[in-house]
Symmetry: C2
Subunit: 391 residues, 2 copies
Amino acid sequence: MFDPSLVALRGPLDPNLIDLGYGYPDPALLPVEAMQRASAEALRRFGSNMLSYGANAGPTPLLDWLRVRLGGYDGRTPAPDEVMTTPGNSGALDQLLTLFTQPGDVILVESPTYHLAIRVMRDRPLELATVAADEGGLRPDALDEAISRCMHNGKCARALYCVPTFNNPTGASLDLARRKAIVDIAARAGILIFEDDVYRELTYDAPAPPSLWSLDERGVVLRMGSFSKTLATGLRVGWLTAHRDHIQRIVDGGLLDSGGGHNHFAACVVAALCESGEYETQVDKLRAAYRERRDALLDALQAHLPAGCVVRRPGGGFFVWIELPDGTNTARLLLTAEAHGMSFLPGSRFFLDGGGEDALRLCFTLYAPEALAAAASRLGNALRATPAQNV
Amino acid sequence: MFDPSLVALRGPLDPNLIDLGYGYPDPALLPVEAMQRASAEALRRFGSNMLSYGANAGPTPLLDWLRVRLGGYDGRTPAPDEVMTTPGNSGALDQLLTLFTQPGDVILVESPTYHLAIRVMRDRPLELATVAADEGGLRPDALDEAISRCMHNGKCARALYCVPTFNNPTGASLDLARRKAIVDIAARAGILIFEDDVYRELTYDAPAPPSLWSLDERGVVLRMGSFSKTLATGLRVGWLTAHRDHIQRIVDGGLLDSGGGHNHFAACVVAALCESGEYETQVDKLRAAYRERRDALLDALQAHLPAGCVVRRPGGGFFVWIELPDGTNTARLLLTAEAHGMSFLPGSRFFLDGGGEDALRLCFTLYAPEALAAAASRLGNALRATPAQNV
């Protein structure tokens, strides 16, 4: 499936293992031919302007297209000075941490939260503190409480990092009331929100709720979007919408002043692809394929998991979150599951300070429906092979 | 020349201004057609592996090619675990600052030094301290002294940032004795060297001296190289050679763990271009063109500048550094020069703590020889139009 000399892998490739631990798009669905056409068209059209230092905010053709696109599927259209390109959401988060935090600041994160974002934060002299979530996602009352706790301890809560739409790992999306409450709490407390909005376009049942950014009238939300999940993870091209002062701070920062716009060459290829209309085609294709996969996995889990397992149904994104009956330790279950020919990520990976030992995350985008059904069956067998008290 | 909707510019384009302030390659020399062939070939050959999360260290085909290439023009060939890709030198420096410094650390920089690297550092809670240079570049005795001063003040000198080969802004290259002395001083003091080696391939008279990295037996030098100046600045593809422990620290860091290899898509295009043999063709072409331009500029400066100006002759790179007679303030001269139809960067930009007021930097890579000669003539006229005490 993957060539290990080119692709980041979790470990040695095992053709007998259905590995739902990868949070990867299916290579078979990636737009190789559209990228061929877009690369040729971009170099033809932009010529040496594509090979020179890119404009700090990103290529205008891409930003113009993005504004129209966002106006169509989010709560509001960014003004020209409210949007810029980024090197994908990991690189965007890295830049936000450099420019908008100070050593010793507290960053609040959902619990559970995207485990690799935590690693980006832990490479810096920051403190992390958790905010509890439930089936509906991040709890506003828990945010209020976490901010108070910081103040009580004499700490500065600088920002909240969250994935409010089709969450990684739980798949949950905040409803409108929670979105408004969270933006309001952050604005009143004077903290920023780093909104990771990477799954917004991959919605399978209904339009995604408006972003926190679109509901923010006081300039506290910096919303990170990306072409990683819709076009290609290897591009490292994403975008940020935020208050013009925040955008200007990044555009005028040392990194872009020295190197020019983030990933200018790849961003120009994306601009050509988007303008050709092939972006919409690709997103429609992914939505249909991933919807089918999500449903195939959910159906198979219902058929094969023993009673007492709680399977969360995501409205979009990449992941299904499962809570197993009390006493099941999924870090230990993993060994049995791999012996049965399937893998997953144990829930504890997504919790900073304990928790999630009885949960696990499955990714449904990398494999075809038949493989997902087989993986669910194998997971059921693994669970039945080891009574709860022993796994 | 440039399309401002795509390219980072210093200000509004003025067709009557010959602006030698830009440190840019000439767009007319950029390999647009070779990049067209390489993009098509890379997508054909690597397919979806080029669009997936890239291997954290970078695509193996590019790293393999790099190792051979470096073995041919530097003092030693890196082992497979001593090299990785980066998002160009600005992004590489940014990552090194994240992973190898602590808040409050002192970073030592040459004086003068690359002004935009300083801006990357100033976006962080670091202290900067200068190390004096002379016509031969960074002075080892001044490095020793700067480290002692830090210790005396109870500060931690963490790293030295320097451009030892075809320096920006002075064009100077350290001789072998200074290189060895600087590596030795750093190793004994326990500080790292962030070696900015972006101009190595652009040598016009003789092979470049060996890198500090190639002379380092104790793992203190992290050497940043790039395809920005040899292929295209907009690619944001560079590479790092360093001790395997340093490479591993970055490869295992949060940013790459989350996003995969830096700029995987563009790095795969570069791999295809390099393997095709077109890299050598392009470097040969640039060397010939830039040598002619350097010589045209130096000849015209000799013909047109008044007596008392000291013009440094660079053996490679992008820049000519000029020291004007005492009393000439180049920040003020700039206004007169621009009124005469040419521009430059005043020397004071490259000094952290004063100095360089009587110096200026000219870039000779962006314009054709005729334009460079005209710029030198205009600079001479500007100097003569304003007696030293008045400029």
